[in-house]
């Protein structure tokens, strides 16, 4: 009897564990919406992933309950307009890991209907799991929304998502008080050439202030926000794409070498903080009024205004190299998108939602919560109540002429190596020439 009970117990445990293990491994890989022709069902539930940081949910909103967030209310408005449709909002804590989570879920067959990702190569490398919506986008959206390049695959030409309504612009954010104290006036006479910029930095350093501060160790922010512009303006974006494809060489790209050389010079000349490769507090120092300029993007304007006062912060474009192909421009573009998974059963409904989210009406509501430069071309600074003299108004003007994020343009392997090794160039441990050769090696392997 005892033997029978013990055998039975072991048998039950084995069955239980086997069932538990088989539950872990569903591997649906086929798309149920590949044709994109399934009709929207009356009762449908969609899942939407949104990044918790620097996307549709602002830091101020995170202090409120979830139902008070703009995105939650937008979802409610869509659901009210489409009875029977519910959208479940899932917040990804970290935009970076969202890509890996999306990838893992796609392989496991549990990908959401829609997901908020980063544009460019971050989205393109997931192309196999993302629906091509080129033929599904309403014509009005294609006409009135900018930034489609950021979500159009460089491999296949497929349009892989809607750019989010956040046209990030790169610039030098500066402290007006410090600049005035140094006898400069960036509002009337911003430094537009490298020589003028050098003179301005010298004047600032002479007064005992740090001209520029950045934390370029863990990620080369100064490099990606500004140095990449200097590269793109001298070489042209086509050349950069060609380098990545292995058709031309980074080592022969004079624009790259020139930009990197000047990037290094900003440190040796004392313009950039000497601990840029290891520091983590350059933003704090700027907000404390110890630093004159810092390379930044649109989304920090609100924080800067709170720290230093809206009247005390200004924005200027990066200076231009003499003879550059592109001038009076900067790096920018929509850095994020919302994609539709191939596994969705309701592609038309997803498109309807994304079109709704990017409608003029909704974007204006979004702008009341987070003032960003929108991707809609039919919304002006006046429409969102931005003062003409404010930094945000200037960003609206800058956004009309931007070079799309170069790090999003590079292939993923090249981008990874590029970002890893930039601190070595900045700190003088690697020459620009060796850096370029290193990138050529990576590009050659990727091209095989």
């Amino acid at each position: 009897m005892k033997k029978a009970i013990s055998v039975l117990l072991v048998f039950v445990m084995l069955i239980g564990m086997t069932l538990a293990l088989t539950g872990c491994g569903s591997t649906k890989t086929t798309s149920s919406a590949a044709s994109g022709s399934s009709a929207a069902t009356t009762n449908a539930k969609l899942t939407l992933w949104i990044n918790g940081k620097d996307s549709y949910i602002s830091p101020d909103e995170q202090k409120l309950s979830q139902d008070q967030w703009y995105i939650s209310q937008a979802i409610k408005r869509f659901e009210d307009a489409n009875p029977g449709v519910t959208i479940e909002l899932v917040v990804s804590a970290d935009g970076e890991t969202a890509h890996q989570t999306f990838k893992a879920d796609a392989v496991a067959g549990t990908a959401p209907d829609m997901a908020n990702l980063w544009t460019g190569q971050y989205t393109f490398q997931l192309e196999d799991a993302i629906l091509d919506i080129k033929d599904l986008i309403p014509a009005d959206d294609k006409k009135n929304i900018t930034g489609w390049d950021a979500v159009t695959s460089t491999n296949t030409g497929a349009i892989l998502g809607y750019p989010t309504s956040d046209n990030q612009v790169c610039f030098f954010l500066y402290n007006k008080t410090i600049i005035k104290e140094c006898g400069l006036d960036f509002e009337k006479d911003p430094p537009r050439t490298i020589d003028a910029f050098n003179k301005a930095c010298d004047a600032i350093a002479a007064k005992g202030y740090q001209p520029i501060a950045s934390d370029d160790g863990s990620f080369p922010w100064f490099g990606c926000y500004v140095m990449n512009y200097w590269w793109a303006q001298q070489s042209g974006v086509d050349r950069i794409v060609s380098n990545c494809a292995g058709k031309t060489k980074f080592a022969d790209d004079a624009g790259l070498i020139s930009a990197l050389t000047y990037y290094r010079k900003t440190m040796t000349a004392g313009y950039l903080n000497s601990d840029a490769v290891t520091s983590t507090d350059s933003w704090n120092k700027f907000c404390q009024g110890k630093v004159a300029m810092t390379p930044q993007v649109s989304s920090v304007i609100g924080d800067a205004e709170k720290a230093l006062g809206a009247d005390n912060i200004g924005v200027i474009l990066p200076p231009d190299f003499d003879g550059a192909k592109i001038t009076n421009s900067t790096i920018g573009g929509p850095g994020q998108d919302i994609v539709i998974s191939k596994a969705t059963k309701n592609p038309d409904l997803c498109i309807k939602f994304l079109s709704f989210l990017n409608s003029k009406d909704e974007v204006l509501k979004f702008e009341k919560v987070q003032q960003k430069v929108p991707t809609r071309t039919d919304i002006t600074a006046a429409d969102i109540g931005v003062s003409d003299t404010s930094a945000t108004a200037k960003l609206f003007k800058f956004s009309g002429n931007m070079v799309f994020w170069i790090d999003n343009t590079l292939t993923s392997d090249v981008c990874s190596e590029y970002c890893s090794q930039m601190p070595m160039v900045l700190s003088g441990q690697m020459t620009p020439e060796d850096f370029a050769k290193d990138l050529d090696g990576i590009a050659a392997k990727s091209a095989k």
């Binding site: 160790g217 490769v277 520091s279 983590t280």
Partner: protein, 307 residues
Amino acid sequence: MPSKTQGAASLRRGTFQQRQKRSALLSILPVAVILLAIKAYPIAATVYRSFTNWDGLYKSDFIGFANYADFFSSGLFAKLLKNDLVLLLSVPLQIVIGLIVAVLLYEHVPGWRAFRAIYYIPQIISLVILGYLFKSMFSLDGPVNQILRAIGLGKYAVEWMAHGSTALPVMVGCITWYSIGWQVIVILGGMASIDASVFEAARLDGAGFWSRTFKIVLPMLVSTLTYCVVMSVVWTFTGLFSLIYSMTGGGPGYETMTLDYMIYEKSFVSGTQFGMACAISVVLLLIVMLITAAEMKLSNMAEKAWG
């Protein structure tokens, strides 16, 4: 000649032993199945994927040894292994210091209970916190440089984390400081298993502190020390991710990157080189297995020499 009664008893014992064996096998079968599923399957899958160009999604074409050839020929393997070997310098440091502290605590010096707790405190701090702590301590304007400047050694107040030649020794120091507590606890446990009468007899024979330590304690601790070495080496190769992530991110460049950190870089930072990440995992596994086998062999030799 066995009687019928003895034969029947023998038959019952045989049947009983078989039943025992069967029960034992059935008892460990569920755990074995789980271990195979959780450990053996992923290892086998990783080895398989290391021979493909798997991008983490659906692309997974067989490419033979291309990942391994790329990894060894790119110069990356040499650099990462060198960094791992430098970090391994923390192992003898932590064991020697741990041994000294354990021997002193065993002698019940005044306040030994408090010291035992104090030495273990670093172990309860998360490695991520520790990494950030050391990063800020050794920053350009951090406390270490401020002290150096204050005592007239300003020329040594460098940007410690900006170069591999300075960042790696700082990491060795951090790992040593973190691990001393664990070494002390394990060695004390080993020493507790030494019969007190052995020490008593040695004292009666006139053996002093040093004689007791080198002629009794150390030889009897060989197996404990072997365990400490093996576990510390394996942990150095496989357990430092969170420390490196918070302290240097493997940078600048690859100056402080290790083999296990590169697995993360290739798979999650690059985002598409999962096949290469699997190849690096296999290489790391083989290195750890080789080093462990060498350590066990040396330990057996030491045990024979001192036994």
